[in-house]
């Protein structure tokens, strides 16, 4: 309702709005369009100084092939999946339990525990870094997928708990009371009543956590050393150093690295936005 629907404006304004939309979008995405175009440019174009003109020929296939042949990026992407997927399962799974506990039961330290999760979720990574790396070393999990996953699960449980608890709190409490009057055990209430109703929250959180963890760079840098553990974000930094000015390769690799979360976003857009904006409408 606000601003006033453009359909109610004079025709010239409607027309200019429709012209302005794509122009604004192009300006907004200019950096992205730039690298997309560069990634299909032959390297001869760059050498000849043709940075902005139409590519002399489409070199997408050779550039992207080169990216996979000249680097470990395939491995890195596989590593990212190996870190991200178990993290999503772990963090979302654990937070279904914690969220249920905090939303349904009244007990003495309920709010204290809840705000422990919320506050922990906001802290700077650097204050955790030294002890977490130490702990991981002591567990013998340094430079391993498991070590990264364990930390990510623990940390993301904070945000997930906030999300799940608020989601369950918004369900009608009479559903739970009604089951209690019927003598249903607490676990069965969770399993048969609350969990099925949490599906949208689980979907939303899964896409969000996937994106967050996939895009993590800091922990990938300090917890992984070897190529068979390093996720793609950390890998990209290495490739940047390795290729220096071969921008057609760097840009192509960037696009490859960005692709999985982007695909996730477009496939699960509704859930993604619902998750990100939880709380943006009430409170």
């Amino acid at each position: 309702m606000f601003p006033r629907p453009i359909q109610k404006s004079p025709p010239w304004l409607q027309a200019s709005y429709k012209v302005l939309l794509p122009i604004a979008l192009i300006i907004w995405l200019l950096p992205l369009i730039g690298i997309a175009v560069t990634s299909v440019r032959p390297s001869s174009d760059l050498a000849a100084g043709n940075y902005f003109g139409w590519p002399t020929r489409f070199a997408g296939v050779e550039n992207y092939t080169a990216v996979f042949q000249n680097s470990n990026i395939g491995w890195y992407i596989l590593n990212s999946f190996k870190v991200t997927i178990p993290t999503v399962i772990g963090a979302v799974g654990l937070s279904c339990l914690t969220g249920f506990a905090l939303a349904v039961y009244k007990f003495r330290f309920n709010l204290a525990v809840f705000f422990m999760f919320v506050a922990g979720n906001f802290v700077p990574f650097q204050i955790l870094a030294i002890p977490v790396r130490d702990l991981t070393l002591k567990l013998g999990l340094y430079d391993s997928i498991t070590g990264l996953v364990l930390f990510h699960v623990a940390f993301q449980t904070g945000f997930c708990t906030l999300f799940m608890r608020n989601f369950i709190k918004a369900l009608p409490f009479a559903l739970i009371e009604s089951a209690r009057v019927e003598g249903v055990s607490e676990w069965k209430i969770f399993r048969h009543i609350v969990l099925p109703l949490m599906r949208p929250a689980i979907a939303a959180l899964s896409v969000l956590i996937f994106t967050f963890v996939w895009n993590d760079y800091f922990w990938a840098t300090i917890m992984a050393q070897s190529a068979d553990v390093r996720p793609v974000t950390a890998g990209m930094n290495e490739l940047k150093g390795q290729w220096k000015v071969a921008w057609e390769l760097i840009t192509a690799a960037s696009i490859v690295a960005a692709l999985p979360p982007v695909a996730m976003f477009f496939l699960m857009q509704k859930h993604f936005i619902a998750g990100l904006t939880l709380g943006a409408t009430k409170g």
Binding site: S178, V181, E182, H192
Partner: protein
């Protein structure tokens, strides 16, 4: 046997006392309605009987057993929630049988109960639907069905009809009444709608501010309200209250002088009162006779409902009075209206609001 006994029950949330000492006896098989304005504590009282709220002090027994430490599920009660609390992801069948399945009942035991409840509530053709595919009345029946299959001694209803439209409400009222007759179980029913209370109850409990104002059958409350609150709450349209003074008169009668100067003589019925004490006269609109000698009033508003006509008039001192007249009665706004007043229908309340004389026409 599932009689319910409450003794000196209180409930506090922090420093706030919601229930301030309730004693109540509900007989086995009785249909008992808790009625009162919002915030009177009626729902809290019901939830305490269900075991969903702890009892702060006092004792509660169901079927002669003390219930303080008994879990809701073990009390032999079933509850129908205001919101119905249907599980949105389950079919009607699963909703109704869920509690039985979760508490380890055998399929052979569940099936006949389900069939019986579904037939009783005409839900048989809806068993495979989800709640979102049902109308309001159907959802309501599913919620009741969920209670029935548990075969409880006591049914608890928490404002179950408040989400339905008027026509459906009337229909469900009779259906619940029929169910009560069929099952013979004890039912405790919370509502803020006094019409619902009057039509369904064997026994009405009028609650206000966390205490019981009066307990009795519907007609008892209508004819013999114990105080101003009950007199004003039960009956629609509301009873008229006219301030005045009273004094003893000859032959055990009582002389009442209303604020506008009208003099009346009522049958004393043994009531004791001091001369000139302030009183409130109560009379129901349906017990007034417009066009006969009595109170002198001016018509302020007339509502022609067809079956009856309501006049809202003002006495000389400005006090307002509602009169229920025949559907053919007519009076122009601003015209004078003489209102006849049957002394036998007059209630008299003292300055504390307690009834001194009941205008009980049944005796």
């Amino acid at each position: 046997m599932a009689e319910v006994t409450l003794r000196a029950i209180t409930k506090s949330f922090g420093d706030v006392k919601i229930i301030k000492g309730v004693d109540l006896q509900i007989a086995d098989g009785e249909f008992c309605v808790f009625v009162g304005p919002s915030g009177c504590g009626k729902s809290t009282l019901l939830r305490m009987i269900a075991g969903l709220e702890d009892i702060t002090s006092g004792s509660l027994s169901i079927g002669g057993k003390e219930m303080a430490d008994v879990e809701p599920a073990d009390r032999g009660v079933a509850m129908v929630f205001q919101s119905y609390a249907l599980y949105p992801h389950m079919t009607v069948k699963d909703n109704i049988s869920f509690g039985l399945r979760m508490t380890g009942h055998k399929q052979a035991d569940i099936a006949p109960r389900l069939t019986r409840a579904a037939e009783m509530l005409q839900l048989t053709h809806l068993l495979d639907r989800k709640p979102s595919q049902l109308s309001g009345g159907q959802r309501q029946r599913v919620a009741i069905g969920r209670a029935i299959v548990r075969e409880p001694g006591v049914f608890l209803f928490d404002e179950p009809l408040s989400n339905l439209d008027a026509a459906l409400r009337v229909q469900m009222r009779t259906e619940i009444g029929k169910l009560h007759a069929d099952l013979g179980a004890t039912m405790i029913y919370v509502t803020h709608d006094q019409v619902e209370a009057m039509t369904m109850a064997d026994k009405i409990v009028v609650l206000n501010g966390g205490v019981i104002e009066q307990v009795g059958s519907p007609l008892e409350l209508y004819h013999r309200p114990r105080n101003l609150f009950v007199a004003g709450f039960i009956g629609s349209p509301k009873m008229n209250f006219i301030p005045g003074t009273a004094a003893p008169a000859a032959d055990g009668k009582i002389a009442v002088t209303l604020k506008d100067g009208t003099q009346l003589t009522l049958d004393g019925r043994g009531a004791k009162l001091s001369s000139g004490q302030p009183v409130t006269l109560g009379i129901r609109p349906e017990h007034l006779a417009p066009g006969q000698d009595g109170l002198k009033a001016t018509v302020k508003l007339a509502e022609y409902l067809g079956s009856e006509t309501m006049f809202y008039a003002a006495l000389a001192d400005g006090s307002e009075i509602a009169v229920k007249a025949d559907g053919l009665a007519k009076a122009a706004i601003g015209s004078a209206l003489s209102i006849g007043l049957n002394p036998a229908a007059c209630h008299l309340f003292n300055a504390d609001g307690v009834a001194i004389i009941h205008g009980d026409l049944t005796r």
